[in-house]
Amino acid sequence: MSEEEKDTTNSEKSPAVFERVKEQFQDGVLDLSEEFDELSIVAHKDFVYGILEFLKNDAELSYDFLVDVTAVDYSQMEDVLTKYDYARFMVVYHLYSYKTGHRLRVKAPVHEKELSVRTVTSLWKGAAWLEREAYDMFGITFENHPDLRRILMPDDFEGYPLCKDYPLRGRGERETFDFERQNA
């Protein structure tokens, strides 16, 4: 039933951005959806840089502001996993256009085997720390990133805290913490 509803809304007024992106990147686009009045594009990870570049530089769409880069670990959400060929992570970009005032979400499924996406720091300078955070929290690497280090966790930290298999209370890091004692 929900699929039917979705189909009718899409055929009624498919947003211009969907048309344009689909026309440009036929194979790269995996899914287009409109939920809660928000537009999402799911794209193949090899195409996502090209799509973001297109969205940013296109004079009409002009999604010139990268709001956020983050990731979601879908390992406990079975239907999303099966839909995207068991890709565990999804890298999520939120865009905004100062020209049109529209928002857009672009997502790229990433497999655990090849955990990497091309960086968008060459498009937006602000992406550097956002991508560092995604790396720090999920272990996703961003190719050609100028400075991909951990950002919130200590440099010698093992594991990726926002992965679903990382326990809420940690893996005993607190208990084994080595205090520096003052010389008595």
Binding site: E35, F36, E38, S40, D64, F65, L66, V67, D68, T70, V72, D73, Q76, M77, V92, H94, Y98, G101, R103, R105, W124, K125, G126, A127, A128, W129, L130, E133, M137, R150, I151, L152, M153, P154, P161, L162, Y166, L168
Partner: protein, 398 residues
């Protein structure tokens, strides 16, 4: 002697600025590479206040998480409460009564005033202007008394609820806020006379920490820092939420994107916030503040303690898997917090706990531009720039 000078000339000095330096406002740390007094390279290190708020969001239910949002930007907890519940309400498709929306706007704007007052006080204090600090904190104290009376706490307000607010405004709220609003312009004027045309203040802030509008967008700056660079964008105008379209106010925009313009923009925003609060109070609609939906809201305390039906109702809301359960899906909702665009990206799996909560913190992106702003400048400018950006460690590290 001459040989010694030559040997020293090429040497750089490393300066560890923070995390305990008073001008770092919390736990910011920047490693500076200095050539004399000039900053050659700046490397910010963060994470000293990393608390795992996003991880916690996957384990607390939607109403419990409001408490966590207090601790993000601890200078304006009311704005965070507000932004967060708007996101959850968008997911639920809830529309809250007009009075509730107005009450939230009043509290959010008062909290913007409080935030900007602390920023003003601390920023000025960092540059040696002690009086402005006292003036700012005196006014802020009045606001915090109002917050305490309304919410029960000065700092950890947790005022909003999914579907409304904790409680309606108290009797006498209007008089107290009106008293504040009539006295406040005098303070602002005093601060203007102290700082705005002050030679020392201008020398320390003009042409310091400059960022162009184009760079500000590329770096993801939002809020007053973006507007000071000449980009007149305000989410309250661009995507009005919670009845902001009802109010008449101006968006303050700067020209040069330096510390001085960020100061002026925030000063003007305080005037506009007062304007919004006054309008909201004058036109405050009657009626309930919360949605009349028993599946969302807790019962009145007297019902929960006095009747078995009330107790069962209370129990049903609180119990895991029975309370607020948004449909599956994902949303991004952003509000204009005092520091800029505070966004919440929530992925829901249909249970009472979010599958993933991502907070889009304005402070993180504001802190990222620090090297861009201070490299090539003087070491004393670092303090001015940090003060003007108003980076809040709790929100930066989450």
């Amino acid at each position: 002697m001459h040989a010694d000078m030559e040997r020293v000339a090429g040497e750089k000095m490393m300066l560890n600025f923070g995390p305990q330096h008073p001008a770092t406002h919390g736990t910011l740390r920047i490693v500076l590479e200095l050539d004399g007094e000039t900053v050659v390279k700046a490397t910010p290190h963060l994470g000293y206040l990393h608390t795992g708020f996003e991880k916690l969001g996957e384990h607390l239910d939607y109403n419990q998480y409001i408490v966590v949002t207090d601790r993000m930007n601890y200078l304006s907890p009311l704005s965070n409460n507000f932004g967060y519940v708007l996101a959850v309400e968008k997911l639920l498709g809830l529309e809250i009564p007009k009075r509730g929306e107005y009450v939230r706007v009043i509290m959010a704007e008062l909290s913007r005033l409080a935030d900007h007052l602390i920023w003003l006080g601390m920023g000025a204090l960092d540059l040696g202007a002690f009086t402005a600090f006292l003036y700012g904190f005196k006014e802020r104290e009045k606001l915090y008394s109002i917050f305490e009376k309304t919410t029960g706490a000065r700092l950890t307000t947790s005022y909003t609820r999914v579907g409304g607010v904790l409680r309606d405004l108290y009797d006498g709220f209007e008089e107290e806020v009106n008293a504040f609003l009539s006295a406040f312009p005098k303070t602002l004027k005093e601060v203007h006379t102290l700082l705005t045309r002050n030679r020392i203040w201008m020398d320390r802030t003009k042409e310091v920490g400059v960022i162009s509008g184009e760079d500000a967008i590329s770096y993801g700056l939002t809020g007053p820092c973006l507007r000071a660079s000449g980009v007149g964008h305000d989410l309250r105008k661009a995507e009005p939420y919670s009845s902001y379209e009802d109010f008449d106010f101006d968006v303050a925009v700067g020209d040069n994107g330096d510390v001085y313009d960020r100061y002026l923009v925030r000063m003007e925003e305080m005037v506009q916030s007062c304007h919004i609060v006054r309008q909201a109070m004058d036109n405050l609609p009657d009626g309930p503040v919360n949605v009349p939906d028993n599946k969302i809201m807790l019962p009145e305390k007297k019902d929960a303690y006095g009747h078995i039906e009330g107790l069962i109702h209370h129990f049903k809301i609180i119990m895991d898997g029975h309370g607020v359960q948004p449909p599956r899906g994902e949303i991004y909702s952003a509000t204009e917090s005092p520091n800029g665009e505070l966004g919440f990206y929530i992925v829901s799996d249909g249970s009472g706990t979010a599958y993933r909560i991502r907070i889009r913190p304005p402070s993180l992106l504001q802190y990222q531009v620090v090297p861009h702003m201070i490299e090539g400048g003087m070491v004393s400018d670092v303090v001015a720039v940090l003060g003007s950006l108003n980076v809040i460690a709790g929100e930066l590290d989450r």
